[in-house]
Amino acid sequence: MIESFLYLVVFLLLAAGATLFGLLFTGADRILVARMQGRIGPPLLQPFYDLAKLREKEETVPAGAAGWLFRACPAVAAAAALSLCAFVPLFGFRVPGAFAWSGDIVFALYLLLIPGTAMVVGGFASASPYAAIGAQREMVTMASYELPLATAVLAFAWRLSHAGVPEPLAFASFAELPVWSLLGPLGAVGGLLLAAAVAAVVPGELGRIPFDSPEAETELAGGLLVEYGGASLGLFHVAMAVKTVAFAAMAVALFCPYDFGLWAPLAFFLKVGALLFVSVTLPRAAMARLRIRNVAAFYFTALGATALSGALLVVLDAFIAGGAA
């Protein structure tokens, strides 16, 4: 009883921390992009001000919308994103034996799908043609980055299981035995390809430029979010902020599980910050929006092939080079 209460407290702290960090990153991202564009940019706390403002704003449900579904989706998205905090290693803490009901990395990947799916459902429920086009694009985007993402995760997990790790899909296993220590030169190349593939999935997963065609301001005026306003939109913003942190934390746990002992929290911020800077901030300042056709071709074909060849190299490396199996 006391134990589960303790878990609840830890979870709430982690969720609050992830929300805070996610919103702060959004603020920092806006400042950094502004500086790259020769602008001053908003204050660091702007995302918080935005949320406070959205809370005050009136919400409208468009005529013809499936009202209850339209209203439920933001809450579902935020709840799913926040519950990710219970399963993904955050802030460098290794809560020993915590969350006996803890899921593994595949579970986290599925949970990660829910906020996006809720946005799609909310978009369709809003009965706006812009939102409908945006929702279709979001589905296509999600379906096309799933192949490289799943390939990368499974290739690393397979390498652990090949090395005899009992629970190769648990985050803890990745932390205890970093996959890189098992890889020979060939496998290292494969591993780097897989890491690059996951880094390229980040902006798509988060719906940022060049993969923001589901929202596409100048085409769809906000796309699947076009009819949302007020607190509902705020909830989507929170969901996106938490998802940003959780997804980056997953990628880091997989590909850079080194936590430097006591420096672990600092290392976490640095690693996640660096990944988000490279995968979100820089492309946003340096690229134009891609058409959905280009997005699908890039993720499914180009990145899918990259990830599969990376996985193949990891497997070959395990069998031929012997490795430390």
């Binding site: 992009v33 060049p210 100048t218 085409e219 005026a221 690229m287 891609l290 058409r291």
Partner: protein
Amino acid sequence: MTSPAYQTSIGPIHPAFKEPIHLKFDLKGERVLKADFAPGQAHRGVEWMGMRRNPVQVLYLAERICGICGVTHALSFARAVEQIAGIDVPARAHFLRSIACELERIHSHLLWAGVAAHELGFDSLFFFAWRARERVLDLMEKWTGNRVHYSLVQIGGVRRDLDAELIRDIEEALAFFESVFGEVRRCFLEDDTVNLRCRGVGVLTQRDALELGCVGPTARASGVPADVRADHPYAAYSFVRVKPVMPDAYTGAIHGDVYDRIVVRVYEIAQVIGLVREFLARLPEGPILAIPRIPALLARLKKAQGEAIGLHEAPRGEVLHYVRMNASAAPEAWKVKASSYSNYMAWVPMLEGEEVADIPIIAASIDPCISCTDRVLAVAPDGGRRELTKADLTRLSREKTRRLQQKRGAK
């Protein structure tokens, strides 16, 4: 794919457009089957007002037809009136007019480049282009006192001369724009994402461009070498040869796509730099106004009789002003044909068959100036349309004032 076609609108108010215009589409999935448009969302009755003012007053009104072109409409109007009244513009004024026109072309093309980048979701390029554009605006402010509506053109000349310091400023700005041209060319024409989004998109064939009567960069990008500065030289363009910029200057071929329209505009920045340098080198001395005293000018204009057309190659293409005067204070007739009016129809062949994602950049690629083009219309709730007369507008505004007063009284 048997999904039925559905209809959607972009506009009249939409983030892709900075001014109100209504585009209507029949879509099938992400593909545009049929495109149509409805202009007339923001008419201001400029021509009607102009026919109740004397020609000198009309100049300031004409400038305000466009939101960014400070010379275009005033110059076209002045040219028409000068022909009717038989006023000879001094040579120096011709050169100063052309210098202002060309500087305006730089800032208009940079503004367009920024908007195009924004439509593509490439905001870094948008901010870069608009920051560079500020240099022209500052220059024009130093010369004329205003950033956009310069009030430079007067009937029979220009109102402000260039001194040695301003000429040095212009030369420095031209050197700056040479480096900007290099950057813009690299960022737009060599960038992978811009290439991916613009090549082969929104094609306008040469035949369509001719048949629809397209003008300016839109026509030139489709291989129609039309340029008023070369075809009907005026102002200082009679002294300096202007060669229309065609897209094959850069790509070696003419495709008539969005990319070619970018090529034409980017290379026109380089053309402007050369032209302004030549104008400055050959700038003659002398007066800048044919009739410096306004009362004398007005007296002369009041006696004028006849009709004329004033043509000008605006940044967006040919602008035409028709003026008829009949020995009275105000023009008897004034008709403005903005460049965008000639280019709107090109949207239909450009947009049909393309993807939803390409609608904003294709729509922007003709550089539509909606305020220049619009005529009076109101959309009734039943979708019908009717014109509002002056009496209607007066009645509506009085009704609104009364509503406001009653509301205040109720409180």
